[in-house]
Subunit: 253 residues, 2 copies
């Protein structure tokens, strides 16, 4: 049984809290946040505190915090003997190296409030400062996911960067598509089957093989007619992406 | 019963042929292509021809051809009395206006060879030069899809442009993500749950509400560290997309 304290109550923290409360080999002994209000939803299920000096003794302290406060909160933590790990894709493990036992517990997924997430399939990417600490994080991760692996800080940084492209930027294209629909009196529902198929395709095809469209075909007539329909910033995006597709596929404009 | 001739044997044509062969209210009377070889797979199921002067009499002739040859092939077609429709998202209906009965039959989906597609959910966007011709196309479309609607050429052009963003450009981001994995000794499998969730999210959230990430948070530290990891072209893409996200969400860099 692993005794766990979670620091934070944001999207990721909330999903972790809910999931660890159901995990068989984990006892969530406490949740910390400096705002009392945001602890409210968790009080019926576990102990809570707004005082970082009153953290309970635990095996693992998960800092499920925004990137820019991880170091700050870690500085306020007194050494407890337990393993201190953060959950960030882009923050180096080294920010925790004042602690004897430290590591990273990075679930590679996008978390939104009020949207349930099934952790079982989510890759949990681990890093630790010793073999023993890695073992502890592995045990913790296997309590909620079947997809657990060790990666180093550089790999994690690159995964996080890839996630920005395939999640944040992709979602922004959904927004631009949705705007185009709205401006033309069309329902965004129309685009949903295509969005779904685009994502499903790469289950059976590599994204390189799945690529289609005017950029790949170098269909200059369509490309030019599209450019005319766009405002300056979207025109630049369209041009750059078209060029990048042709670069990757070895064609020239 | 609608008698149908399909011109073309590319990805879309192949999927249409397979689907119409199973449709109850449609009889696929012929497939045309000027290459005899590409007709081979369809010979066991329907009549085929490489001679455009030998097209059979039919109610509808579907030009499921590449955008840049639609006009050219249409010019070679002699008036048969049937309805002539193309399947393109970006070509105007007007290129067919030498025919008394003409229209557009645009299935909004991305088609790849060897990947089965379920037409039932695919929006089929119709346009026709008369109420009667629209009725015929509707009947034809309802034979394969439950999602049939009338849109005009301008709406269709904009849908097609939106499709480039949400399908072609999104898939290119999958490719860039896959490259980042490869370069760092990571499996692309790791990104698949996130790709899936990104696409699924917009079933319950608007893409505006689903947006997350460093651009939205204006997390300059992460943005700068990502920029340092990218080559010049990808850097430009990252900057533009970050700016575009912040523009749409009303933030300033």
């Amino acid at each position: 049984m692993i005794n766990l304290v979670i620091l934070g109550t944001g999207n990721l923290a909330t999903h972790l809290i809910k999931t660890f409360l159901k995990a068989k080999n984990v006892r969530l002994v406490q949740v910390f946040n400096h705002h009392s209000d945001s602890l409210e939803p968790f009080r019926p299920f576990t102990s809570t505190t707004t005082d970082i000096q009153k953290l309970k003794k635990a095996d693992v302290y998960l800092l499920a915090l925004k990137d820019d406060v991880i170091e700050e909160v870690a500085l306020k933590l007194s050494e407890k003997g337990g393993l201190i790990a953060h959950t960030s894709g882009s923050v180096s493990m080294d920010v925790l190296n004042t602690f004897e036992n430290h590591g990273v517990f990075y679930p590679l997924q996008s978390f939104s409030k009020n949207r349930p997430v099934d952790f079982e399939e989510i890759p949990v990417c681990l890093e630790a400062n010793s073999v023993d600490n890695l073992k502890i994080l592995k045990k913790l991760a296997l309590g909620i996911s079947d997809n657990v692996l060790e990666i180093n800080s550089k790999q994690r940084r690159n995964l996080h960067l890839a996630a920005v492209f395939i999640n944040n930027f992709t979602n922004h294209f959904y927004s631009l598509g949705s705007e185009l629909c709205r401006e033309n009196g069309l329902s965004f529902e129309l685009l949903k089957p295509l969005i779904k198929e685009t994502a499903s395709k790469i289950e059976t095809l590599s994204p390189i093989d799945a690529q289609t469209g005017p950029a790949l075909r170098n269909d200059i007539k369509t490309i030019n007619s599209h450019l005319k329909m766009l405002g300056p910033e979207q025109q630049q995006i369209y041009k750059l992406l078209t060029h990048s597709i042709q670069n990757l596929h070895g064609k020239k404009l």
